[in-house]
Symmetry: none
Subunit: 218 residues, 4 copies
DNA sequence: AATGAATGAGGGTTCATTCAT
DNA sequence: TATGAATGAACCCTCATTCAT
């Protein structure tokens, strides 16, 4: 039925345009901050005018929200895929981070999770924090698992996860899509470094009582 | 000359007030971003009015600059102290990070290095980037040293340092001065985790052929 | 010429659509004011899109003009019919108002004569004011007649007519087509009250010396 | 204590400026409608800039609200004063309207009660409608009293009051402070005409059964 | 040393209007 | 005949900054 095609095609084009707007906005938010980003520039970089942008997007805030939602989606999918792949806590953590970094760099060119206070309205903020807490909770659980399995150093899992997320979220500040390292390579390097930061070393391991050394995967 | 004393005292008081303003501004910049921060709020939190603030500070930009300069100063001093303390590359890295984290959390309650583009004028930005590059360079050198010494895993030192700095700079996003962990304790946990992320593990070290354990600039 | 018929039918349909648009616009103008009315809503309430609306109407301003023209037409016809019906000044005034109120409530559901400055262009505004002055002049003449006939209290006919027109034009603010009172009933009540407001009472009439009962332009 | 004077004086000046802004806004709202009014013009007519205006007023909406509140206040006081003066229902109605018209023309140069939908936020609108209903209720009660007393024609008091309020609220459309009629004179003319519109006339009175003619004041 | 008042510049958002289809 | 998409102009509002006091 070729007569329905135009509408479908139009819809796809519209969705693509919306996507492009969100990606460009993400880029700008990362660089200049939410309040420092002005939609005229975003529009100009896309070769459209600001009102045209408003045809696809309700609000500046909704743009930020969309960015965050994509990031959360990437995060959640990273967790899901890593869990499906299974393995010890260290492997799982490595996989989660690998998927997450790849997602961020590929889809949002290093996304925003910068969370400037006062950027999102209270309702959106609440919802987002809830989702983010789920993600953080999943990571913390992996860290706890690793400690239980004896592959991870004993530590405060909250702080440990903050450190990891800081390293990952910061990527947007220095990642250049056209840099010398590809997305895949970077994901490997970063996740390895971060997993190693928790994995039990030769010295520490020696100090652990035997009862806690069971199930080490390394 | 007793008649000069009051002036000295006044100067000290003025300097302290200036310091308080900068700290409060740092707090706000961290939370809401540079452009999201409005000076009225900063002033109000200090119990003064906005014009009073302008008596002590030339500009909004100069506030940001001062924050960055303090951070750089803390960073440089951390490097200097660690170098003075000496030790292997891993120890030195640990010491640098420990000092740095302590400085940030104590003096600026988790400082701004957020570098929103367009916040600083080009001249200031250039100067700051130069200083930051010195700091990053020092860290990279330590990492290279560690690889040469065989205590650090072989890696891209640029990426490794980005990861470390990300983790550290992100602290401002979650650090609460009244949280359960003190500044000293946190500094210890964080630096340990980050050093461990580079330190060679039992397996990795053993597997490397001797030929690859020297001169490792990737 | 059967081949001309469809065109005639189409014309009628188009005219009806145009009429529906104008009525809907009148409704909106009344409720939200000219500048507060947005054509998207008008179109949506009619089940069409905004560009479709532009197919039938040149301008937003032309919509307002059309509303006013209808109102003026209703007014003029009310005067003409009342004059044809004849009778004393009080009867004539009552008839005018009765016809006018009926016309407004029936055709424009309580029309706009709200005259926001800056809504109509100068040319249209001038033309409209001229027509409106004709109407007001006709009413003032009836009032003067009434005073001359001794049926109306002596008064400033300008103010008296303003009061009357205010009461009538305000109807659009409270009239609900589905309210408890029908258009006819309301027209009766309102016109009676307004005529009574000018009609000479038992006391007033009796007390006036003859000399003052003639030639009463205040 | 002359040393506190400047502050007091400043406060008075500020209050006066705020008052001037509100009056000028009322004027503009009346002429151009709420949405048709642009604050730049209001400011310009006052010889200040728009941001200066925002120093005294929170919002465009708050300006409208202030206008309405003044109108309501005038209305309520008109009712209170008329009740204090006492008299038959016709006298009371006349007094209320007289006070109201004087207040409107004097304080707001013929104020806004135009109630464009969508101009006030839902909360403010609700509050305002409640107050307006109190006023309308008071007028209706006077009309009912008048019918009970036999001084007013039998009618639907709701419609009767709508007619009266329309006539009064419309004043702002034609009142010119520098016109030929003073505020006091106009108030007298208008209230007389409107009371007469309800007062029982010679004919109507004759038709009433005796039982309903008690207590007529005329 | 500090404040009330004012301003210029800029950004988010809306909307009447048009055009290609 | 009707629509999706786009735009220019305008408006509300905020805020860093200054000035008279």
């Amino acid at each position: 039925m070729p007569w329905k095609e135009p509408s479908k095609a139009r819809e796809r084009i519209a969705a693509e345009k919306r996507g492009a707007i969100i990606r460009e906005a993400a880029r700008a938010f990362n660089r200049r901050g939410y309040h420092g980003t002005n939609l005229d520039e975003v529009a100009e970089r896309l070769g459209i005018t600001k009102p045209a942008l408003y045809y696809y997007v309700k609000d500046k805030e909704s743009l930020l929200l969309a960015c965050h939602e994509i990031a959360i989606e990437i995060a959640m999918e990273a967790v899901a895929r890593a869990n499906r792949q299974g393995g010890g806590a260290d492997e799982r953590l490595g996989n989660v981070l690998h998927h997450y970094v790849r997602g961020l760099t590929d889809d949002l060119r290093g996304c925003v999770v910068l969370m400037e206070e006062g950027a999102l309205g209270p309702a959106n903020l609440r919802r987002l924090k809830r989702q983010r807490d789920v993600y953080e909770g999943a990571l913390r659980e992996i860290v706890r698992d690793g400690m239980a399995e004896g592959v991870f150093v004993r530590c405060d899992e909250k702080v440990a996860v903050f450190v990891i997320l800081g390293a990952v979220n910061w990527i947007s500040k220095w990642y250049a899509a056209d840099g010398p390292r590809g997305s895949e390579e970077l994901a490997g390097m970063i996740s390895a470094q971060l997993v190693r930061g928790l994995r039990i070393g030769p010295t520490e391991g020696a100090l652990l009582p035997d009862s806690e050394r069971r199930g080490e995967a390394v």
